[in-house]
Subunit: 448 residues, 2 copies
Amino acid sequence: MSRWIQSGDNQDLTNERKKGTFDTERMSAWIYGGQDVLNRRREILNFVKSVKDFNDPVPIEFMSREERVMNSARKVVSMTDNTDQIDGSDFFGEGMYYQALTMGRDLHAMSLHYVMFLPTLQGQTDDDQLDEWLGKAISRAVVGTYAQTELGHGTNLSKLETTATYDPKTEEFVLHSPTITAAKWWPGGLGKSSNHAVVVAQLYTKGEHKGPHPFIVQLRDENTHMPLKGIRMGDIGPKLGINGNDNGFTLFNQVRIPRKSLLMRYAKVEPDGTYVAPPHSKLGYGTMVFVRSIMIKDQATQLGAAATIATRYSAVRRQGEITPGAGEVQILDYQTQQNRVFPQLARAFAFLSAASEIRELYLTVTEQLTHGNTELLAELHVLSSGLKSIVSWDTAQGIEQCRLSCGGHGYSQASGFPEIYGYAVGGCTYEGENLVMLLQVARYVNIF
Amino acid sequence: MSRWIQSGDNQDLTNERKKGTFDTERMSAWIYGGQDVLNRRREILNFVKSVKDFNDPVPIEFMSREERVMNSARKVVSMTDNTDQIDGSDFFGEGMYYQALTMGRDLHAMSLHYVMFLPTLQGQTDDDQLDEWLGKAISRAVVGTYAQTELGHGTNLSKLETTATYDPKTEEFVLHSPTITAAKWWPGGLGKSSNHAVVVAQLYTKGEHKGPHPFIVQLRDENTHMPLKGIRMGDIGPKLGINGNDNGFTLFNQVRIPRKSLLMRYAKVEPDGTYVAPPHSKLGYGTMVFVRSIMIKDQATQLGAAATIATRYSAVRRQGEITPGAGEVQILDYQTQQNRVFPQLARAFAFLSAASEIRELYLTVTEQLTHGNTELLAELHVLSSGLKSIVSWDTAQGIEQCRLSCGGHGYSQASGFPEIYGYAVGGCTYEGENLVMLLQVARYVNIF
């Protein structure tokens, strides 16, 4: 029943696999969403295995920060040179899988280019802007990121300090960071790689404040890769995880950008400075939920990886002789070990199911919205917020229990656990800080 | 009341400090164990600040594994060249503090030399051996570690596979690792730094097995620093934390060592191979408890550091405007933030008190043991096991809550949290894996 049984494997592991009462192939197909998808994943896996450029010269844990970023940049070029191997229209399916195989959990210099920069161009530009930028961005002539959060401002978008003041005399915006807390802070790929960014700034025109708007801004010279005049920027350094991605900062000192830098699909500024407000739209709301359903699936996968490592280790590791002379027993046979590891395996499956459910609900709500029906919108928001919080925290805790169940070996980077934890636990903070999300759920439940 | 109030500080922080209702100097004295100790700590702090050699050329998080180990080796030489600045007889007081200031949480190539190698020589050698080795070890002519755990064996000492078989013809022991799982695995400083080790191996003489015993073994040539003939060894690589310490592995292929390599304070082997058993002793028992009381204090300190960072951040960080126009509020004023951070601060103090209590009990029991009174011994063991488990897990959880309370910034290495967590969480595994320790407590409570 198990396609993983191979001769030459550790005998304890083979014995455990022989005891399995389910078909591992059917289970794999269920996890990936069908046999066809599973087959395609295997094709991608085999392709990635065949490309020598995807190998790391030494394990990345042995590299310095600089070496790690360079290695990541080298690999991401190979990865993007080979995108014809995957179905480009299925970014969150084949694309994410392909990226995970080539770049691992350390992510890379172009993570934000694909996840935020390109989608923002596609969603926020007018037709002229799309013509100007999309081709360059897809061909990597322009590598971009999304610069919204500031050193002093995360959740409260209305208090962003960076300003973009329109000057009708030159038909330019003047981009400025009035304080140190106005520094754009955290954008992935901003540290060393991006030469462009979508910058979110407070728009001022004709002396009036019009709130935060997105602008496309060139940051570095395309030839020398040095910051342009008036732009101060750099790397914010190593993190708990995801160190192949060069998160960075940037400050603007009266930087002039053309009027057409404002992404004008919805809001517009006319040459004379007249502001044209966007039509009311609630459709952006759904995208966040979609990202959360992807994220819950990703968290489930990380917990599943940790539980797999811990379970296999527990089958192979023998410690403690219960019956004298009978030899040491597999630690998998201790109830305490089972109670520590197996619930994590069960959670991984439960979270995978939850991710499917929320995605189905998202599709239903999106369909309803096209008919002006907003009935399920609030419920969708609150369900995805609550699930994201519970799943990410349980995942973080579960990975740590799996790690601890491997004793000292779990502390070694070679076990994979430190990397899995460092990557997954970020999910407790991004896409909405967990406590803030849970407060939103509580508020909704009270109103309901 | 607060000695930390300084002009030029962030005004929010100063305002919070002014609200304090207790004397921070008295609190500091209580934490360190008296005003005299506090004063001495400050002298040591000022000395460490004055030594340029103790600085890192770049933050260690930016270094490669190799650079990190080299930097650590360089600093530990400066540290040990300056030990006259501290009271050498107070290793677990001034010594640990001095080491923490110079080497940080990353530890160093000689950590095990001081914590395990030297104390083992002092405790397990006979008088001749002490004369031969102690001077060399103190002068660093010999740098050693303690090699007990094996790749396949941690908690179950009786199943260690490395053998030391006595050959009366040459008056030598033959040290051998029969399998790959017999590889000594994890000893700190073994990877690159140590040229000697205390190796724990199963003693065989006259065809009889006498159980695990400690041997002092030269591993590397003192001039070339290359492994000696028959010895295979190296670095086991990066870990979740403590990466300035080069944990390593070693395998022995029929390595011959002199009879006097057996540390003979208690057990002996005569030249003809006659084994002399050690007199029964339970005094070694207490040492483990002593180490645990040190460890509980250390854990409390790590949690206190995390809570301090989170509390200060929460005072300075403003986010969310509750009353329109009133400006953003300090996040310290949100009840959810208080409920997240303050319990960690309270726990740090509770754990410090618990560490003092267990140390007092240890001193009482040690005194009683000298009169043959073992009445409190089992209770001491179970209290220290239980406390160690609860404190280390609550500390790990508490550090993570503090980190998450700082939002995205907590994910940056610059916050200190990833390092504090990586260092402290090791305590859930070392000095007795927490679940195993809790099972021992449960067994005792049932019997009681």
